[in-house]
């Protein structure tokens, strides 16, 4: 009796050992935690957000949540604040990403030429990207202060303006001001990523181009730009998705104001669902970020497949 029990026990252990030593068995076992996490806290919430967006669920009322079909979406498309936010989000994302790309490219070109204290400068220039955005945005809130703004002080003393600029007070200036912060924060990401790409380009190509009489301008457009294109595309797409879904800079600097002129999808969703408690409508707003994400995902996957 005892011995059969032991041998049963033994074979079970052995079978487990065999399973873990086979590629298939070990493979499934090792990816299981990641799969469970991604299903439970990404796939399920995503489906849940679609479900919530089709209901009138309130955040604090558990019994609420009637199915209302596309009601939230129809109301949103009719809502001037939402339509304003759609425009704001596109404006914020495309303008910021454009300048991040241009200035990041310049930063990469500069860093690529530096020999003196190379790592030190690279490290210093990466700081805006590495520190908590919410905290650096707080620094910018003080830089933009209506009364004590040091930017205004400098411009006044240089004689470039006659009176203090109200950075966050008018719709146009507020949008420009938050774009500036986003650009400032994002330049290093572009700069360092593009620099890493540049360093994989063979030096011989530049030498060959130089022998053919190409000047620096031509070398950039004939050698660097085309060879860097894959990296540029990946970095730009990634940044576009992130900027499109931005939250912290607006939350800290303007909370969407003045008169909703700086609300983005994420800040409007937060205000609607958490502050006003309309969870269903908020979920519908945040789902508007999805199409942009889907496009980026498809393009990135296509690029990955091509390269493999």
């Amino acid at each position: 009796m005892q011995s059969t029990f032991q041998s049963k026990h033994f074979t079970r252990l052995q079978r487990l050992g065999d399973w873990l030593n086979s590629e298939r068995g070990l493979g499934y076992t090792l990816v299981a935690p990641a799969v469970i996490l991604l299903l439970g806290l990404i796939a399920y919430p995503f489906c849940l957000s679609i479900y919530l967006s089709l209901s009138d669920r309130l955040l604090a009322v558990a019994s609420s949540g009637r199915f209302i079909g596309l009601g939230n979406f129809i109301n949103l498309l009719d809502d001037s604040i939402f339509r304003q936010s759609v425009w704001n989000t596109f404006n914020y994302a495309f303008v910021s990403v454009f300048f991040k790309l241009v200035l990041g490219m310049l930063m990469a070109l500069v860093l690529n030429e530096i020999t003196f204290l190379k790592n030190f400068f690279r490290g210093m220039l990466l700081l805006p990207w590495i520190v908590p955005t919410s905290l650096s945005a707080l620094g910018w809130l003080w830089l933009y202060d209506s009364q004590y703004s040091v930017f205004s002080w400098i411009l006044l003393n240089l004689g470039l303006i006659q009176e203090k600029i109200i950075w966050l007070g008018s719709p146009v200036m507020a949008m420009l001001s938050i774009q500036l912060v986003n650009i400032w924060r994002g330049i290093p990401f572009f700069g360092i990523s593009l620099l890493a790409g540049m360093q994989t380009i063979s030096q011989e190509l530049y030498e060959a181009a130089e022998i053919d009489g190409a000047n620096a301008w031509h070398r950039f457009w004939q050698v660097t730009w085309p060879l860097l294109m894959p990296v540029t595309l990946v970095v730009t797409l990634f940044s576009l998705v992130q900027t499109f879904a931005d939250f912290q800079i607006v939350y800290v600097l303007t909370r969407g104001g003045p008169v909703n002129s700086t609300h983005l999808f994420a800040t409007l969703a937060h205000q609607t669902a958490i502050l006003s408690g309309k969870l269903g409508e908020g979920a519908a707003i945040s789902l508007f970020m999805f199409p942009m994400l889907a496009v980026a995902i498809i393009l990135q996957l296509r690029y990955l497949q091509q390269r493999d």
């Binding site: 995503f46 919530l52 530096i114 210093m124 202060d145 790409g197 669902a273």
Partner: protein, 283 residues
């Protein structure tokens, strides 16, 4: 006009270093302004007619206020705890998943690798509302565990993706030798491969720590009380009081909140650069 070789070299050098100076000023000025503000007495901050770009009577008063009159230390501890737990968990889950996806052949591995990449792109703001709903239903609202289980949703895809690249760079022969000598796959992974993966693990760990330290919207949405808040949310939501700003201590707090990251980062710059360019360059 034809420049000589030397002239061209000098011209090129000055353009490069002028460009460098431009970027250094633009990128670092906000930090300079924050430092200056944090050590200025209030009189200099609000009433002085002197040059605001300099500090004439530096004072530690704002830092003292921060430690004595605000829950700064509590928030700091919370941030550390959440970041350490979620980083360790994610690093573990990410390492084993990356090993399986990079090394083992089994059905579904391809699809799984692709899903990891897709989730790596998903921004946190897309899912914070359904997650808030789930957190409330689980009874975890205003509890640090809410952050410890949600942070891995963006850390695990990142760690897995980064580490898959490192695993692929380690020759398969090494592992095969070990298994021929009688080691199981798991033993080979722990004793032979992981030590070689150290740079990758450091890179992923540092980056994951930074991402959780900097996270904002989950912490803002899933927590409420001072005893649970993380540092960024505590500073932004509690210290900014209506129209009355204590700029000196606010800037002191913002700087101190960035210091742990800046220290880690100054020691491990190379690893950081590898982490941030993993998606773009190596793929």
């Amino acid at each position: 006009m034809q420049f000589s070789r030397l002239q061209r070299k000098i011209l090129r050098g000055s353009i490069v270093y002028l460009g460098l100076a431009f970027f250094v000023v633009i990128m670092l000025f906000p930090f300079y302004w924050m430092v200056i503000t944090s050590i200025k007495p209030d009189v200099e901050l609000y009433l002085s007619k002197q040059n605001p770009l300099w500090v004439f009577n530096p004072t530690p008063q704002h830092y003292i206020y921060l430690f004595q009159k605000t829950p700064f230390v509590t928030w700091l501890t919370n941030s550390l705890l959440v970041a350490i737990v979620s980083t360790s968990v994610s690093l573990f889950i990410g390492t084993i998943a990356a090993y399986a996806l990079a090394r083992l052949r089994f059905r579904g591995a391809q699809v799984m690798g692709m899903s990891i990449f897709i989730t790596y792109l998903v921004p946190t703001t897309l899912l914070f509302l359904p997650l808030a709903y789930i957190i409330r239903n689980l009874g975890l609202y205003d509890h640090p565990v809410a952050l410890m289980i949600t942070y891995p949703t963006f850390l695990v895809p990142f760690c897995t993706w980064l580490l898959m690249g490192y695993f692929k760079g380690i020759p398969k022969d090494l592992e095969e030798c070990a298994t021929v000598d009688g080691a199981t796959r798991i033993q080979a992974l722990i004793y032979i491969i992981l030590p070689l993966m150290l740079p990758g693990l450091v890179s992923a760990g540092l980056f994951a720590f930074t991402m959780s330290w900097n996270e904002f919207i989950y912490a803002l949405t899933f927590t409420q009380s001072d005893s649970v808040k993380t540092l960024p949310v505590g500073i932004v939501a509690q210290l900014v009081l209506g129209d009355v700003y204590f700029w000196g201590s606010l800037m002191a707090a913002a700087l101190l909140g960035s210091v742990p990251i800046a220290i880690l980062y100054s020691f491990f710059l190379e690893y950081y650069v590898k982490g941030m360019t993993a998606g773009a360059v190596k793929g």
